[in-house]
Symmetry: C2
Subunit: 821 residues, 2 copies
């Protein structure tokens, strides 16, 4: 490999530090109008009237629209690929502006003016009257008899959707019957049970760049929206739905972005922005929301409550588990039930229960901030519940949590009910390496029988994470490559760079396949839905895997066209040629001595009971092109032609002018699982309720790394996010449904001072499903951090903290309750 696997500098590094990176706001035109959304000041009810007459008199005000003006169209906002089957489409439950108020901060009107001051003056002059209902902020309130249904047209109660998954014998019998069977097999006295209720908090994404967009109607009548989004092509389709316009009349542009974490995998204010420019005769209108609006009126991570029960034997064998889980979905469906279903799935699959597992999960509408996608899409909640339970079992049963996990975790070759198979399985190897690195055995021993107010603990948690959304949903990606006159090239994709380094790894992949060096590969970072090859966007840790295949397939096609032209110029068969470091070279047979033997790679993992893959066994035969590394496996001989000379001739030849480009679709029908775990060593100062993380180690098997340094940075970011999730972050509401800490002063994300050195270990296990042996990495790092910290606190103090975040207040209260302080 020439480019893949190397830690090349980010292609956007210079732009980021010099300010050359062009964010949505940097490109707003000079003559842009400004829009401001008017939010409801009640949490549940109905707008009766909005008198705009005084507000319209404010100088500079161009247009005021209210919930009584907008199209009577309900639309969905989830960043999901579309389905042509109505049953699989997302829930359409909101309008551009809502007369029915379902949360404090709901969008009820919008003001467009020449400047922000005029907007604010006008807003103060609006006269709004409401009919107010009781707020139903919590899941219990929403489910209580007589609670107002928030979406009576869709659901008579506030249950958005319910899932009941069962595995193993629990598919046939219930938990009590399983218990009876187990009693017969093992003896009733050999059985132990553990119950628990575990809760996670609602948190905000806190991306640095706020949700922002600007829109205008273009020369051809298309409404053109420039937005900081992860999903430009999906946004185009949703704006089309929201306006009732054909999708061809909508164009979305996504420039450089300052973070998303899943919040921008939803459609936020862009349809309203599109509507506002139309309402203003096509003039450019910008709509940037504030931090406070972003925290309550965009999307949050689902707060969940999991009520669980486990049956296991005295010698540490899991027999059965059940979970009844409730997710607070907030006021609108957003991603609907998909995230809660993911919680139920991973809780069930992460461990093997002899009699199986029942996993029930419910998403509930409440009159509070809408929950949506956030890094790892429910899996952090699932793993928190599953791994709190495991350590509580271990504490009760006297098991070593590492050994218990080794014995009971998901096994090699596991195939999920939807057919995803754990091809390159490494869960146990990850655990082993993490345990060794942190000194698990020694520490567990050393920390036994501690006394005094300051105690030490070591804890762990594991995760599995699938790559992309196949086969639940569509995975499709197109790529286009364009040769320049100087022998450099553009790569055009719609899998977005959102800070995670996608543009850099795609550059490396394109370079790898084409033989054009990375400094001459220009990734087109801005997406334009009119032109950019279709791809659903940045989410589900899908890009290096799904889009990576499109890049590879396109690169093979592009390379073929270049070599065809070289063959014409040099009058030699294309098969005798290869591209190497920007030159057309003679292709020599590959040197056998340098060829990688896949079996040898796997030999490093003695414990992995998995055989190297024969390519012909791949489930999707069509995809064989993706496994073909083509002429890059040859060895370059004599250089014959510079790419620049080839390109100039191809452009300007009077005998054969040909502008070399390639464009392909890769429909991805493969999937795999990434594995990993977190190990934490920490100190708890009980009187202060203060947790100090001494060491934290994340171990990841994400297959082959495209860029090790970026991979490490990705893991660091996830770990820091996990620490905030564990210890400090929670979006709070009062009983009336009013947000209490919707700002970065009161909502506590960790600062650099709060983050210890972050240690990462990678197992680069070649995955046969990945275009370069790679699989998911973007989201996994956040998953197992919080439960590992929780379990280390349990190890240190014997106190099971069952609710996130584990703030000093909660810790002190728990330690007091246990008489420890």
């Amino acid at each position: 490999m020439e480019s893949v696997g190397k830690s090349m500098k980010r292609v956007d590094a210079r732009g980021k530090v010099t300010g050359e990176a062009r964010y949505a706001n940097d490109l707003k035109p000079k003559n842009c109008l400004t829009a401001k959304v008017v939010h409801a000041t009640i949490a549940n009810g109905r707008v009766l009237s909005i008198d705009t007459s005084e507000a319209e008199k404010v100088p500079g005000v161009v247009k005021i629209v209210t919930c009584f003006d907008v199209p009577d169209i309900e639309f969905p906002t989830a960043g999901h690929p579309w389905s042509v089957e109505p049953a699989h489409q997302d829930i359409a439950d909101r309008k551009l502006l809502n007369e029915r108020v379902r949360l404090y901060g709901d969008d009820i009107a919008a003001i467009v003016a020449t400047d922000n001051v005029a907007c604010e003056r006008a807003e103060r002059l609006l006269k709004i009257s409401y009919e107010e209902y009781d707020p139903i902020v919590t899941v219990d309130e929403a489910l209580s008899p007589g609670a107002t249904p928030l979406h009576p047209n869709l659901r008579k109660d506030n249950v958005l959707l319910h899932t009941s998954f069962r595995s193993g014998e629990l598919g046939e019998i219930d938990y009590e019957q399983a218990k009876e069977k187990a009693a017969q097999k093992y003896g009733a006295d050999q059985l132990l049970e553990q119950t628990g209720v575990y809760k996670t908090a609602r948190i905000a994404h806190c991306h640095i760049e706020l949700a922002t967009s600007w829109a205008y109607v273009d020369t051809n009548g298309k409404v053109t929206v420039t937005s900081s989004t992860q999903i430009p092509h999906i946004m185009r389709r949703v704006i089309s739905q929201a306006l009732g316009w054909p999708v061809g009349k909508i164009r979305v542009i996504k420039p450089y972005i300052g973070g998303g974490f899943g919040n921008k995998q939803d459609i936020l204010y862009e349809p309203l922005n599109a509507y506002l420019t139309i309402a203003c005769g096509g003039r450019p209108v910008e709509l940037e929301i504030s931090r406070e609006e972003c925290m309550v009126s965009t999307r949050t991570r689902h707060a969940v409550r999991g009520e669980v029960k486990a049956l296991y034997t005295r010698d540490g064998k899991l027999l059965a588990r059940t979970m009844d889980e409730y997710s607070n979905g907030g006021a609108y469906a957003s991603h609907g039930h998909a995230i809660t279903a993911s919680i139920a799935t991973i809780f069930k699959d992460l461990y093997h229960d002899e009699y199986g597992c029942r996993s029930d999960a419910t998403t509930v509408y409440t009159s509070s901030a809408t929950a949506g996608a956030m890094r790892a899409y429910g899996v952090p909640q699932a793993v928190f519940i599953a791994d709190c339970l495991v350590d509580d079992i271990c504490a009760a049963g006297g098991f070593d949590p590492l050994k218990f996990r080794m014995d009971n975790c998901v096994g090699a070759g596991f195939s999920a009910s939807n057919g995803i198979t754990y091809y390159s399985y490494s869960m146990k190897e990850c655990m082993r390496r993490g345990a060794e690195a942190i000194g698990w055995e020694e520490k567990r021993k050393a920390y036994e029988g501690q006394t005094g107010p300051v105690r030490h603990g070591v804890g762990m948690s594991i995760f599995m994470y699938k790559v992309g959304v196949h086969p639940i949903s569509l995975e499709t990606s197109s790529a286009r490559m364009i040769l320049n006159q100087d022998g450099s090239m553009q790569v055009e994709l719609s899998a977005t760079e959102i800070g995670q380094g996608a543009d850099t790894v795609f550059t490396q992949m394109a370079s790898e396949i084409t033989g054009i060096t990375p400094d001459r590969v220009y990734i087109v970072s801005t997406q334009d839905t009119d032109l950019s090859p279709f791809d659903t966007g940045a989410y589900a840790s899908r890009q290096t895997f799904v889009t990576g295949k499109a890049v590879k397939k396109c690169g093979i096609e592009f390379r073929k066209k270049i070599l065809d032209y070289a063959s014409y110029m040099l009058d030699r068969p294309a098969e005798e040629l290869m591209i190497w470091q920007n030159r057309i070279c003679e292709k020599l047979p590959e040197d056998e001595s340098t060829k990688i033997d896949p079996a040898a790679v796997w030999a490093d993992f003695p414990d992995v009971d998995f055989k190297p893959f024969d390519l012909k066994d791949l489930p999707n035969g069509e995809d064989s092109i993706l496994r073909d590394t083509g002429n890059i496996e040859g060895r370059p001989g004599k250089a014959l032609l510079d790419m620049k000379d080839l390109a100039q001739t191809a452009f300007y030849s009077l005998s054969r002018s040909e502008h070399i480009t390639a464009e392909v679709t890769s429909h991805c029908k493969e999937n795999s699982f990434a594995s990993g775990c977190s190990f934490v060593d920490l100190t708890v100062d009980m009187p202060l309720g203060k947790v100090k993380i001494n060491r934290i180690i994340n171990v990841h098997d994400s297959g082959r790394l495209i860029n090790p340094q970026l991979a490490q940075a990705q893991v660091h970011g996830g770990m820091a996010m996990g620490i905030g999730y564990a210890l400090s972050e929670e979006l709070l509401y009062d009983a009336k449904g009013r947000p209490l800490n919707d700002n970065l002063l009161d909502f506590k994300i960790p600062t650099a001072m709060d983050i210890p050195d972050l240690e990462t270990i990678f197992l680069e296990l070649d995955d046969p499903m990945g275009p370069f042996g790679n699989k998911a990495l973007g989201e996994p790092p956040v998953i197992s951090v919080a439960p590992a910290i929780r379990n280390a606190i349990l190890n240190a103090t014997g106190v099971a903290m069952n609710e996130l975040p584990m703030t000093p207040q909660r810790l002190v209260e728990a330690f007091k309750e246990k008489g420890l302080i």
Copy 2:
């Protein structure tokens, strides 16, 4: 034909009238800095020093660069396709800013500031010292012995280039020898000679939108220039040359444009703009020049002088002609000698001389505004010279100008020396129809023997015009088509809409081939050189012909992909299907009764001695796909599938997801000639020097018209421009080389009050070289107007006006000289 040949409304009509059309200035970002060019205030000399110290202190000034700071790189500015052969490359004779001042208004420094006021204040504080040489404003001054060479490194004298073309026997013998031969053949007393000196004026293009651009350095380090240009891809290459950066590091974006007429077929201030943003750390910098700057510091039409001689027989047969022509090229090469060579070519080819023609032409550097491309690229000058000469012959020899032209004009089947053949010849038919429309014979008779101060005249002139630049230069064009989820499509090209209606006719062509109705064909009007398929741009009346072939070829490929998918969905062979009005239909055999018989079309032109073309006789066999109208020749049967349903399935199918796009290159190796003529009836008020045009008729054979209404509009625009050229426009200089009328108050373009009703007649003669039987139309309408007016004045008054423009002052002076007033 479903779409081609219909007068559909311009696709940008709504955008133009609502203000939704987005011009370069509309999209400038909020934080843009402003640049101002500092121009020399001498016409010939050298900058000795520029002291910027006081200017830099002006608040708001960010950067001042002078001719002493810029890269020491000379670059060309012509909007020509590149050649890989250095001998065929354009002349590189200027830097970003020039220390050597070659015209009044040369660019010697640039100021960048936060606003224009700061720029102007700073400019006033610059201290500039010059060494001054004698200005050489006219061709005679520039060629006089001892004149300072303006480009001593390139040319020892001021002759940019000289051409000597000869046809017929004059290739072997000289004029005097031909005369001897003719005397032997016809008898010396049967021979007549005519000499003349004809002059045309330097004029400005006067596009409404000034030359304007803005630039920044983007996230990926590319310098990105948004410019109002006709030639984005050529501009990219030239900026690369000017900066010494690889072309891949340059990106040019061309938004909606407010006119160009060839001035924007040159690279104007964009390389400087690119340099300035780099100098300012990549911050956005705008550079819009004023009307005054545009008139003297961009490009102009060459002022020419043609000294001619003709030999003919007493019964009106042309025997031989010679021309010695001089073009004032101004200070820089711009398009070099190409325009002057075009003058020499057309003078030679437009008429048939028994013994041939000698056509010598010279382009001369002078210290005045640079001459470059302007609508019809020298042909108006050539035809003015040729057709003044013809009417002067007719006046002297007593011939009817119509009959003389019928007898002597270029003939059917004519093949130019470079191989371009007059396939669909119609020159005489054009003349016949024009003569009939204006009532030529009656009027010529009626206007005989007039007396008194107010007289009437009728005049005519003819032209031939080739389509595109093949084989002199490269003609290549790529196209891309993209299917949307709603069954609509984008068409992406780099042949620019510059007001001429290109976007509309390409929409019609794409619709014609694909079966998707024009309202669902979205032409991508903005070009982006990183992404848009390569095409050299808008010039040479090449687009409907050259780019039209690319649209056709791409449409065939795109349609094939759609029908392949339809075949998959419907489980029927693609050959049985066609697309008709946004539906996949059964394809029935074409109805013989509605099929067009090409022979029948030609039968309308009894006098055209040309046989319908057999497709297999096409010179370029590869191109046969362009002659294939594929399944559109079928007849639609039962509708089977809506394009929207097909598109949605293709995007979102879980079994076969495919994003249907197509991209092709068409290397055009064909050419043809368009023909036409102008007829004018006018009244001259001799004491007032006032010319009133009573009727003016342009007759055009541009092959089949894609959009008759737009074609007519195009002709109207050209005729109006021709009237200005004839009667009022001239950019004047004083003896020191200072412009005298560089503004729209003193430079007289015609207003609506000056333009009579404009009559147009089209002959739609199917041309076998055109993708839809079409050929050049954009430039031709301007060509023959001025000589027709001149010849009508000659007819009215007997006075031969041999210099353009024929202003009242010149007319009065001429009438006085002749004793008419």
